[in-house]
């Protein structure tokens, strides 16, 4: 009914806007690129250390770019008071959350999928036989970050010092995602068998489910009195 | 009198209460300092050699390697204890001499025998690390301060709310003319 059409409309609106301006994705992409370059200069890695450090560097870059994208996500709604309009419309608040989650998740995932081949080239990885696993980890980790991030993006966009508050609130909460994603990526890279890192992927999935549900429920209190 | 202070002067009551707590705290500090000098404070071997003490003292040092000789039936042990570049011979006679090991740092308690130039120990103790304990318990100070500030602020606010009057402007606003 109305619920899913609202999600579709919101995601459609964000995707169309992004396709026309390319503002968010390009800024996320170049920021991530710079983060990667700075990391590789500051560690002066050889082949072996590169392999051990790579999952951490990759996820730090992804989360930082994610924060950039999340910060911009609700900022666009502030122009022309669009957020007020969303609040005044007779639509379920959870649908607004899910609509924004879809677009945030897609933006982050697109940037990550562009960056991932660069990682493969920069760090000389051979990943081609395990590509589906990597994509699964990417999706699970990104969903975790954007599920919590969309909630806090909506929260911080309406307060002072929003640029500072989003990372301050978000980063401590996504520690489990970081640990799970970095460990799973590292294990896949070092060629361990799936049984050794299955629990990390499970952790990510559980985190995603829990926080999508919790955020979906509490989002009502952010947009509504 | 007490009732008067209690009800009419909440500020005074606050200061009295915290003065009392401060006094008790001060007393505890003095008592524990005394106890520290009696039971915990320990000398080092070089101090023993330069200024031989009287009575029971505590000495902190390390059991020198290769000097420990245990005499099992008589519960005795001989070793030399080193610290600050000096060493003194120790004759230990007491409980659990098995706990003695070479290269172990410990505290021995006993008397200095000036004529034989050796230390007669009857008890030993672990290294006193009261520094850590004291530091950990020092957190009670900021905790008290925090609480004091809060109580003080509450009373100030009560007074302010009681005293706040209707605002009276000096001149009429321009748009009232």
């Amino acid at each position: 009914m109305n619920f899913f059409s609202v999600i579709r409309w919101l995601a459609w609106k964000d995707l169309i806007s992004e396709m026309r301006s390319r503002e968010t994705i390009s800024s996320m992409f170049f920021f991530a690129l710079i983060v990667i370059l700075i990391f590789s200069f500051s560690f002066s890695m050889d082949q072996q250390t590169a392999k051990t450090l790579m999952p951490g560097i990759m996820w730090v870059a992804f989360v930082f770019t994610g924060i950039i994208g999340l910060g911009k996500s609700f900022l666009a709604e502030l122009q022309n008071d669009c957020l007020e309009n969303l609040q005044m419309n007779p639509i379920p608040r959870g649908a607004i959350y899910l609509g924004k989650l879809v677009s945030n998740f897609l933006f982050m995932l697109i940037v990550e999928l562009i960056l991932f081949p660069l990682f493969v080239i920069f760090f000389n990885l051979d990943v081609f036989d395990k590509l589906p696993l990597f994509v699964l980890i990417l999706i699970a980790g990104t969903l975790g970050v954007s599920a919590v991030g969309t909630l806090f993006s909506a929260m911080t966009v309406q307060i002072r010092a929003r640029e500072v508050m989003l990372p301050i609130l978000l980063l401590p909460l996504i520690v489990p995602v970081m640990i799970g994603a970095v460990e799973a990526t590292g294990s896949v890279l070092s060629g361990e068998s799936v049984t050794f890192y299955r629990h990390w992927i499970e952790l990510l999935v559980v985190f995603d489910i829990i926080f999508t549900i919790v955020s979906f429920w509490v989002f009502e209190f952010i947009l509504d009195h | 009198m007490a009732r008067f202070i209690y009800e009419r002067h909440p500020m005074k009551r606050l200061y009295l209460r915290w003065g009392g707590i401060l006094a008790v705290g001060f007393l505890i500090v003095i008592l524990s300092a005394q106890r520290y000098y009696r039971d915990v404070y320990s000398l080092t071997p070089d101090l023993i050699l330069s200024r031989p003490p009287f009575g029971t003292v505590r000495i902190l040092g390390m059991v020198e390697a290769g000097t420990l000789v245990k005499e099992t039936p008589s519960n005795q042990a001989r070793f030399s204890l080193s610290g600050n570049g000096q060493r003194i011979p120790v004759l230990y006679q007491g409980n659990r001499p098995d706990d003695l090991r070479e290269l172990k740092t410990l505290v021995v308690i006993g008397q200095w025998d000036g004529s034989n130039r050796q230390f007669l120990a009857h008890e030993m103790d672990l290294i006193p690390n009261y520094g850590f304990i004291t530091t950990a318990y020092l957190i009670m100070l900021p905790m008290g301060l925090f609480l004091f500030m809060m109580e003080h602020r509450v009373l100030l606010l009560y007074n302010k709310i009681k005293e706040s009057k209707i605002y009276e402007p000096e001149v009429g606003s321009l748009d009232e003319g």
Binding site: K13, I16, N80, D81, E84, L86, M88, P90 | -
Partner: protein, 225 residues
């Protein structure tokens, strides 16, 4: 039955009480014009009625529904036209209309949208991005949106601001049409002459207190407050 009724609404912010015991009544087909100096609480009153804020005490009814308890139904009845145009800069005029209507579950035919745009005089700019629109054009687009939605209760925050002479005429024409179709309109305004053409009731909000005045006074009086 009244379309919009406020009953002893109070609102206090941190520093001052904005609204004091504001009560009013707008019947269907009526237009109520609200005047008052800057900072008198007009916009706050509208935001409370638009369910964006809660009153500190008191209540209001929209078509007999409680504005706080049944706010989801109330939101379906109300439409607000405010300073913020609620438009997305990267979408063009038609897409913005489709999005706004889509959130309310409406999907008008292309021809209806074209007619609405032509009536407010911006048909020629239908596929321009909103980013390039002037404030007056955005306001006209808002009128087109309201025409398509046909709400039962219309809230307008300074409808005449940033509109040209023709724009004001279009606005008044639209208000007249809406009231003839049985809609209730509550507007705040600083333009006495224009409001007097459509309003049947008027009030002055001064220092948070609402005084009802006669509509004839709107043109006759030298000074309202």
């Amino acid at each position: 039955m009244s379309a919009l009724r406020g009953i002893q609404l109070n609102k206090s912010y941190r520093h001052y009480q904005v609204l004091k015991e504001v009560s009013f009544d707008v019947a269907p087909g009526e237009c109520y014009a609200l005047f008052g100096p800057n900072g008198a609480g007009k916009t706050t009153l509208l935001k409370i009625l638009a369910t964006l804020q809660t009153p500190s005490s008191g209540r209001f009814e929209v078509m007999g529904l409680d504005g706080i308890r049944d706010r989801n139904q109330v939101r379906g009845i109300l439409l607000m036209i405010a300073h913020g145009s609620y438009l997305y800069g990267e979408l063009d005029a038609v897409e913005n209309l489709r999005f706004a209507l889509g959130l309310r579950g409406l999907s008008p035919a292309d021809r209806e949208i074209k007619i609405a745009l032509d009536r407010v005089g911006i048909g020629a700019f239908a596929d321009f991005k909103i980013r390039y629109f002037s404030e007056g054009m955005k306001k006209r687009l808002s009128i087109a949106k309201a025409m398509l939605i046909r709400p039962k209760v219309l809230l307008m925050d300074e409808p005449y601001s940033s509109l040209d002479e023709r724009g004001m005429k279009i606005m008044n024409q639209f208000i007249r049409e809406s009231t003839q179709q049985g809609a209730a309109v509550l507007m705040t305004s600083h333009n006495r002459a224009q409001s007097a053409e459509v309003a049947v009731k008027a009030g002055v909000l001064h220092q948070g207190v609402l005084h009802e005045i006669d509509v004839k006074e709107l043109v006759a009086a030298h000074e309202l407050f």
